[in-house]
Structure formats: C-alpha cells, structure tokens
Amino acid sequence: MTLLWIPLLSFFGSIISSLTGKLTRNQTTALTLVMPAIALILVINSAADVFAGEVLRESVNWVPALGLELSFRLDGLSLLFVLMILGIGMLVIFYARYYLSEKDSMPKLFAYLMLFMTAMLGIVTANNVLQLWLFWELTSISSFLLISYWWSKSEARKGARMALTITGAGGLALLAGLLMLGHIVGSYDIDVILASRELIQAHNLYEVTLVLVLLGAFTKSAQFPFHFWLPHAMAAPTPVSAYLHSATMVKAGIFLLARFYPALAGTELWFILVGLTGLATLIFAAYVALFKHDLKGLLAYSTISHLGLITLLFGLDTELATVAAIFHIINHATFKASLFMAAGIIDHETGTRDMRKLNGMWRFMPYTATLAMVAAASMAGVPLLNGFLSKEMFFAETLHQQLLGSMSWLVPVLATIAAAFSVAYSARFIHDVFFNGDPIDLEKTPHEPPRYMRIPIEILVALCLIVGMFPNFVVHDIIYTAADAVLAGQVPEYKISLWHGFNLPLLMSAIAVAGGVLIYTQRKYLFQFQASLPPMTGKKMFDGSVSRLVRWSQNKISAIENGSLQRYLMLMFVIVLLAAGWPLFEMAQLAGNNPLTPVDVHNGIGAGLLMIAAIATVIWHRQRMISLLMLSVVGLMVSIAFTRFSAPDLALTQLTVEVVTIILLMLALFFLPQKSPKASSSVRVLRDLGIASAIGIVVGSICYALITRPFSSISDFFIANAKTGGGGTNVVNVILVDFRGFDTLGEITVLGIAALGIYKLLVNLPLFMPGSDSEGRPWAKERYPLLLASISQSLLPLALLVSFYIFLRGHNLPGGGFIAGLVTAIAFILQYIAHGSNWIAERLTINYRKIIASGIAIALATGVGSWFFGRPFLKTWFDYFDLPVIGQIELASALVFDLGVYITVVGATLMILASLGKLTANAPKEEVNI
C-alpha cells in the first residue's frame, strides 16, 4: 500500500500544518517536514523496482457499483516527478521558514503548500484520467489559495483570480478531452488508454480530443497565448513562486504532454500544435524577459520561455528530443528554484525587487551572489552546468526535424536567437543586480541572509554542478526510466556528455553566448525601441474581455429577469406548453384502446356545473367575493366527482378542506381589497387567454390519452395485503398509515411547517384593515349572530363525536386521521366564527404550536416504536382482543400513528385560521381609510 500513501501522507501533512498555530516556527517547520520525508523514503524504497523497468500499480475500491476505483501507478515518469515534487517541496518549506516574517501565518502557508503538494502527487501518480483531473483541479484551487496568500494586497487577489480563471478554464477543456478519450477507448484507465494509440488516432474524434487535452496542458504550463497569468502570479510569496513555477504547477502541463505522449503523439497535428506553440512561447517569452525590471518578472518570463523549450522538444519528431525534454525538466527545476530563492533573499534583505534600484549587491552578499550566479549561468547554458547539457541536446535536435517542411531550417535559427536572449537576460540578472555600480534608494542596508536560509539554494546549486559535470553518473537512470515510460520502451541509444567535439550545436551555443552578451551590452537601444511600442499586455485583454463578459451577462440577465413575477410566470407557462405539447404532436393517436364509458345524466349535470362555475370564477375574478363563491362550487363538484368515481376518502377530504379553504379565503378578503381594478390591457388578456387555453388543451389531451389506455398498477399488492399485513379493510387508509406511512409522516411535517410559517408571517403584521366594506357601509355592530352562537355550542359535542367516529372507523371504512382532523378543526372554527377569538381565548388556552409538535412526535414515536419489536420503521402491529360486553375489538399501532396525523391536522388548521382570525378581533370600530 505504498502508492496510496504518497498523496495521503502529504494530505495528512497539510492537516497537521494547519493545526500548528501554537507552536514555534521551528517546531511548525519540523512537523510539516515529517510527512513528506516519510513519503520520500517510501518512494525511494520503491525506486529500485521502477528502475528495473517495473510499473507499480495499486488500486482501492471506491464506488464498486459504478466501477470507480482509486488507482495509482508509478512508472519512471511518475517517479521523476514525485522525487522533484517531494524534494523541492521540502527545500521550499525549509526556505519559507526563514522567508516568512513574524506577522505572516506560517501554518496557513504550509497547509496550503502541503495541499498543493498532495494535488501534484495525485496528478503524477494517478492511473485513472478522472482521478487525474480531480487532482488537476485541486492544483488550480490550491494555487489560487497560495497566490492570494497575502490577500490584503489587491495584486495578489487579482493575480490569483486570473490564474484560477485561465487554469480553471483549461481544466474544463481538459475534462472534456479526457472524457472523450475515455469514450473513444471505453475505459478511463490510463494503462488502457496508453495502450490504445492506434484506436485513438484512427478515431474521428481524435483531433477534437487532442486540442482539448492540449488546451489543458498549455494553460497550465503558461504557453503562448495563455502565458499572461504566470507573471501576475508572482504576487505570491517567493517560496510559493519557487515551488509552483519551477518544479510543480507549470510542470503539470508538461507532465500531461509526457503522460499522454504514447497515446496522442506521433501525428502531424500533434507536431504542429505542440511544436509551434512551444517555439512561439520560447522566443516570445525570452524576448520579453529581458525587459522586465522586476527580478521575479524576469524569472517568470524566463520560466515561460523554458517551458516553451520543453514543449517544443515534445513537439519534435525524434525520440532523442523527448529524452532532452525530460532532462531539461530536471535541469530547469533545479536552477529555476534556486534562482527564485535567491531572488527571494535579495527581496528579503533589500526590500525591493526592482533591478533599476538593485546594483552592486556583490559587496553586500557575496556568498548568495555566487550561488545565484552559478544558477543563472546554468539558465544561460554555460558549460560545466546542467543547463548547458540539455540546451546542447536541444540544439542538436532542432537540426533533425521537419516541423516546418522546407522552412525547417528556421527552427534552429530561431532557437539560437531565443538562446541568445536567454543569455542576455541571465547576464542582466547577474550583472545588473550584483555589479553595475551602487544600489539606489534602498530602504535598508543589505547583508547576507540567515545561514540556514541559503541551505536549500546550496543543495540545488550543488545539483546543477554535479549534474553538469557528471551527468551519466547522477541522472542517467532516472532519465532513462522516465523516457522509457514516455516513449513506451522505444528509448534510443544516447549518451549525455560534456564534449561532443566541434560540431554544429556547439557552434550554436557559442553564437548564443556571444549574441547574448552583445544584446545585453547594447540593451539600451532595445529598451528604447521597446518603450516606443504601444503597451498591449495579455492582462489588459484579459481584464477587458472579463468586464465585457460581465456586462454582456448583466444585460442578458436584466432582459430576462426584470423583476416582474407576471412575466416570469408567463415564460414558465410557455416553456411548460412547449415541453408538454411537443410530444403530443409526435403521438400517432390520442385515444387509447380502452372502451369509453357512456355519460350518464348525473355526471353530465355535475360536469356542466363544474364548467359553468369555473368559467364564472374567471369572468367575475375582479368581483372577488362572487369569484370566491363560484370557486367553492367548483370545489364542491370536485368532491362529488370523487364520490362518483369510487373514492369516498377523497370526497370527504375534499369536502372538509373546501370548507376550511373558503373560510380562510373569506377571512383573507377582509384584509385585501374586495375588488381588483382593471389592470390588464385587452392585448394582455387576449395573450393570457391564448396561453391558458393552449395549456388547458394540452393537459386535457394528455389526461384523455392517459385514461383511455390500459395500465398495470402495483396496487394489487396493497389490495392483497391490506387486511393480512396492515390489519385494515380501507386500503387507502392502510396505504397512508402503513405501506406509505413514511410519506405521510413527511406530509404532516410539511403541514406543520406551513402552519408555523404562517404564524411567523402574521407576527407583527402591520394592520391594514378597512373599517367598512368597499362600498362604504360600516360593518354590522352585532358582531356575532345570536342564532349561530347558540346553535354552534350545541353542535360542538356532536361534531366532535362524528369526528371521533370517522377517526376510529378510518382503518376499515372511509375516514381516518386526515378527515377526522379536518372535521374537528371545522367544529372549532365554527365556535370562533360564532363567538370571536376573545371568547374562545377566555375558555380555551391552547398553544397550537405544541399541538402540532406533539402530533408529529406521536407519529414519529409510533414509527420508531416498531424498532423495539425488531420490525422496520412504521411497520404496523395489530391484534384482536375479546373484551367482555363490547366484544371483539382490534388494536393496531396504525391507529396511534393516525392519531398523530389527526392531532397535527387539527393543530395546523386551527393555527392557520385562528392566527388570521384573531387579527380581526382587534379591528377598529371606526372608519379607517383603505
């Protein structure tokens, strides 16, 4: 289980670091280093197997049902990257210990760094493209956090946002590409994908897939024209830059090229896209780097340029170019990390990174200067250093390519020019900073940094030297195995050596060095020329397009979302109409095969009344009282329809609900205007009529198509088991309290929540009540009619008795908790109407909220109670008992559940109506204007 532990350990490290807030800086650093150190030991332990040509694999089941597993692989390429990520990561953490000032939070930086390390380790060890992508996105997010570490600075936030936008967008393209790759191959397994080269390249989606994957790689590796985020990411603390822009973040794109090289490379399109992008980036960035006055800006563009070089090498059609690319990955990581660290030291000790101010640092920090000069010389490609070796190989490979057809001779020429600029900016880094007169306007007198701050640089520079002088001894194995993974076993014979004799690459090197020195000495003319060019940066274009996009979206949103609910509803109805209506036109025949039943007189009359009432409701909708009365006729007809079509429970429910609804709406009318003004234009009315009729026709047709077709239902099960399993003969009730009791529990909870919501809405309601009706007639002085008052009192016990009867018989005959609850509620509401809420409040102190809560609690407790008998939640228990005198009775736990339903319904209904009704009790006796 080694491989899984590699990312896991660094993830633990991230958590550990974030918890070290109370420790000293040394303790925090030491603790943070423990986890990557263990991971490094584990990797080195497995390294021997990888060098022997083995590919280590490991997988853990994740979601077996979906075929998802966490799978890891460690081949030569992964090993190289893992070593770089862990090794340089540890050096960076050590360095950051001295770089961070007292007021910066060290645990925060370390936690982010370790999170980032986790993401990178995840990418390079993934054996599944989706898993790879997940970690890929994690690098985008964690780099966002790292770049915005000094979040109080505006440029840090902007830089972080830009990096996230560009790499995030690239990540989406990559996801699409990887999904297509998985689609083509039929597996997301990297092993399988790498082995399916012919299949992928013969597929007609190959071009699109390649472009999408390359977009991911190029945005991450800051290739032209997506390079501009990288210089702005320099707002990050320097240790972060040293880590992200030497060995990790930007190399993730390179890793992607290398990882999928066996599957995607080898075609004309690959060479053109990868080669030309690399070439353009190489030259462009090398040129721009020279003009950056900011030390880190120079290094940023130099990084882009070197990444272009590596990309170009992957785009050259020779195996040796790939070997050179891998070699340069190592070399660039070592010299660039040390240069960033050196830049950090200079910044740290002088307070500036501006090369126009930094001069003559040699006198203040000769030791650091020496280290930086060696690293910069390696960047320039000076012999005896590792940068020289890979650059020589690069030159040699540019001579053996046909990238541009007959114009291919341009490539070595352009490469030499780029190399000359590389020498020039390296020379500027050395000469401008360490020599060239005296420093200008420094805030403090510079001196050598703390002793230990230099250790990471020393290690890296030592590596530059050792690799540069004894390449075969130090790095041959790792390059060979990595190249073996990229080239799928086709590694050519090669020998890295310092001296190849006098040949063309050496000449190119010499020209580059001479040319670089010439460019540097003549730089002031170039600077003048550069200053005369119109400033046009990627940042401006980026900012411009972002703000254009924002403005465009705002326009579109405000066009659709103009604040008019009427309009939203209209749009939604139109969408419903299209979505529901369209399939009807594709249906051959509306009517199904069921024979139609004849219309009898009763149904005809009922339907006629319903239709007339519905239309009347619409016609008089501005006369609200009449409209409401018409609506109640519709409701009544609906409940009669339920009775007619064999649904007595529904009929009872509809009838009782109808009563409370109409009472509620009449109460509401007291608080609302009793008439609507004529608001809609005739055109609007016509349009709405059109939409409404169309939807009515569509729904009616669907209903007709539905009920004339035969169907099979799961209800046979309910009918067969209602008596034996649920202990009741009223199947509808048994379904409610037993088979689908959990639904019912949810529904009474919704009821309770709605009642509570209403209660809250009515609290502190600013009263808005008329003292008279709409025609100016004052309300009757006699508030409560005597006749109703006296009858209602005697009706109460009778009504309660009826509801009790309905409740009890519900399990076997139409009735049950819902209906009984509504009947009870109506009985009480009648008392409110007859006597007023003050009269009730004197006699009955009920807290309806507690009633609702206890109802739901009883229902829930019944459900939970089943567990104590080892049965599933809400499973009914019932038995029959013989009692003297009364005879046999049935006791069922469903009855208790139904009691909960009953209590909740009573509580909720009364709470809704009583809270609203109570407000009228405070109605002013005299005139209040509307």
């Binding site: 339907a607 609900v657 709406l665 809609s680 009515l762 309601l765």
Partner: protein
Amino acid sequence: MEILYASCVGLLVACGVFLILRSRTFPVVLGLTMLSYAVNLFLFASGRLTLNKAAVLGYSSDYADPLPQALVLTAIVIGFAMTAFVVILAIRGRADLGNDHVNGQVPTNNNKGKA
C-alpha cells in the same frame, strides 16, 4: 365520460392558468386553488375512472386503484396548507408594500411590467 372528464380537467387548468397570470394577488390565489383541483383530478384519473368500486375490502369484487387516491388525499391537505401560506403571504405583502400587485408595486403606464 372520459372525454367529459378530460375536458373538465383541461378547462380547470385553463381557468387556473389564466387567473394565475393576473396582476393582483387574490385572483392568483384563486387560480392556484383551481389549478390544484385540476392537478388532483388529473392524478386521481391515473388510476382510471371506475364507478362503485371503492377500495374498501369486502364491498365489491374488484376495486378502484387505491394508490393514486392515497397520494391525492395527502396532496389535497398539503394543497390547503400551501394555499393558506400563499394567501397569508399576500396579506403580509399588502400590509408591508401597501398594494396587492404581484410585482410588489403598481406599474405606471409608461413602464408597464417593470418593478
């Protein structure tokens, strides 16, 4: 009879939608109530129309489909709760905003429909 039933459902939907598209809160509430009648009838009819076959064991030889009935029963009660909530919202809206227009303010003639 199926044609008649479907026509009733269609008409209720049409009336409900028309009322919902009105500009004052009270007709919208009426429209919602009407629409919920229609939806309940529609769902109920998915068990097909049967006469005199209530799903009470022992009262007939075969039964109407009880499942849609059970679902519609709770839907009716919850529909009431929702109607109540909306109507109280309308009252609150009128009290807080001073008018009962669904957009929260009565449009003037020259910028109709904008809030």
